[in-house]
């Protein structure tokens, strides 16, 4: 079943005293329910722009975003966006647990008495159960990121949009968080649209990888990743197909930047 369809999405930013800047040229793709899809592309190609448009936070200049067949006009309940600057998305005046239930508090269909048990359960899933009374600024970057993910999950969205969530943690923590994400993805059977500029990470995590080029960006290609699950950090990355995908995507991006620099 199709969860999300992006059709001919365009987005230009107004720049004062100059002609507007076209970030997204013409982006089209779809995401099926339960799928793990990654978007890769060079820095500044419009990945964040794309996610904020899908999340209903930015107006678009053209095209359509359909969520279960319905046009997205404002932030929908079915989606949660985990921001690139996750540290700045946690409320400094609330404890970790209160941050996690912040989203639920705005959903009348979830009973008040359920907030805390549910929040604790998700915190346990991300391995932070002993930190519920701590404030976010007392946590490390990687722990803060877990809180942000827990908050997204606790809200029970069908679709999780994640913007380079592991960009600023060390390699070890990053591998841990990747596997954690795969576990919760399977446990809660969610749909995930994952943005990264790390090609290896995209291949390791995804069912499909969408490659974007420099602005105004379009989809260069979509690659189905046929490596069996559950994935494993070492063996999956040594899979012959892994290396094949990796070389292919590198070439694709290289060629696009070579031709893209022509005036």
């Amino acid at each position: 079943m199709e969860a999300l369809r992006i059709q001919h999405l365009q987005k230009s930013y107004d720049v004062p005293n100059r002609e507007s800047f076209a970030a997204l040229g013409d982006v089209t793709f779809e995401v099926r329910k339960g799928e793990f899809v990654s978007i890769v592309g060079p820095s500044g190609c419009g990945k964040t722009t794309l996610l904020t448009c899908i999340a209903g936070l930015r107006s678009r200049s053209g095209g359509q975003i359909l969520l279960y067949g319905k046009e997205v006009t404002q932030p929908p309940r079915e989606m949660a966006l985990i921001f690139q600057e996750y540290g700045r998305t946690l409320l400094p005046w609330k404890t970790v647990l209160d941050n996690v239930i912040f989203g639920m508090e705005n959903r009348p269909e979830i009973k008040r008495s359920e907030h805390r048990p549910r929040g604790r359960e998700v915190l346990n899933d991300v391995g932070l159960s002993s930190f519920e009374h701590v404030y976010p600024w007392q946590l490390s970057g990687g722990q803060q990121q877990r809180v942000a993910i827990a908050r997204g999950l606790a809200n029970g969205p069908d679709i999780l949009l994640m913007d380079e969530p592991f960009a600023s943690v060390d390699a070890q923590t990053r591998a841990e968080l990747e596997d954690l994400l795969l576990r919760v993805w399977q446990k809660f059977s969610r749909t995930i649209l994952f943005v990264t500029h790390d090609i290896d990470e995209a291949i390791y995590l995804s069912d499909r990888v969408i490659v974007l080029c420099q602005n105004p960006s379009v989809v260069l290609d979509t690659i189905a990743i046929e490596i069996e699950r559950p994935r494993e950090q070492i063996s999956s990355r040594e899979h012959p197909r892994f290396l094949h995908y990796r070389r292919y995507i590198h070439k694709l991006l290289q060629r696009s930047t070579d031709t893209g620099t022509a005036p």
Partner: protein
């Protein structure tokens, strides 16, 4: 734990040495007044000031006028607070409102309260209402500007986060804007509390009748200099206590702010 214990100890130590320094100055003052005879009339010995302070406290005169000044300044402060916080939050939150009111704010803000007084007298007459208005005028601006800055300085990513969780207008305001702006508002309130005290003393000096400001001019014209100093000392004590009480309240309300900034720095 042990490090915070240490810093508390160090803070007590430095406060103690500051206190000792004041005592040293007072002792020096006392000695000078004995050595230089002519000075003693204008700058009386510390001991004679303290004596006057004690007598005026005992007679109830000093407590009475202190309470009068306190009530006057708190009325003005409360009036400005009730007006400035909602104004600042609203103007900061709404872009059109900000654009409309910014020139007006920039125009009125630099007008000193002293220059407003003749107008206040004309409109309200010479009474407590007019005094409270002048105090409120001066105290209004720091609160307004800080609340405004606080709202406009909110991290847009924080707002976007709340929006992805479905919070809209009033929800955003109540759950995000209010809390983010609180540290700024508190800073404005603290500034305004001191300004309220200054203005209260000013209107009392200017108009007489009652209060510590009145006491100061009254004893000066009677040439009872130690009593005049006793009233001035009381102003200083009142200012100190008000600020201390405020810091205590602020610590309760926005502990998260100070601590998160301490951990970031």
């Amino acid at each position: 734990m042990s490090t915070s214990g240490w810093s508390a100890f160090a803070a007590r130590q430095s406060r103690l040495s500051g206190f000792l320094f004041v005592l040293l100055l007072l002792a020096g003052w006392e000695i000078v007044t004995y050595l230089v005879e002519d000075v003693a009339f204008y700058i009386p010995a510390v001991s004679s000031m303290l004596q006057a302070f004690g007598e005026m406290t005992w007679s109830g005169e000093l407590p009475y006028h202190t309470v009068v000044t306190l009530i006057r300044l708190l009325l003005g402060f409360a009036l400005s607070l009730v007006a400035a916080i909602p104004c600042g939050l609203l103007i900061g939150h709404s872009r059109p409102l900000f654009e409309v009111s910014e020139p007006l704010v920039e125009l009125l803000r630099p007008v000193p309260a002293i220059a407003i007084m003749p107008i206040a007298i004309l409109v309200l007459g010479i009474n407590v209402r007019m005094q409270v208005f002048v105090i409120a005028w001066a105290s209004f601006w720091p609160i307004l500007l800080n609340a405004l800055d606080g709202v406009r300085g909110i991290d847009p990513i924080l707002m976007d986060t709340a929006r992805t969780y479905g919070y809209q207008r009033f929800g955003l305001f109540r759950r995000i804007v209010l809390f983010s702006a609180l540290p700024y508002i508190m800073a404005g309130l603290r500034l305004s509390l001191t300004i309220s005290l200054i203005l209260a003393i000013f209107v009392e000096i200017f108009m007489g009748g009652s209060g510590l400001g009145f006491l100061i001019v009254d004893y000066r014209s009677a040439l009872r200099i130690p009593e005049m100093y006793a009233a001035i000392i009381m102003v200083a004590v009142l200012g100190y206590l008000l600020n201390a009480a405020f810091v205590l309240l602020e610590g309760r309300l926005i502990r998260w702010h100070h601590m998160s900034h301490a951990s970031a720095g």
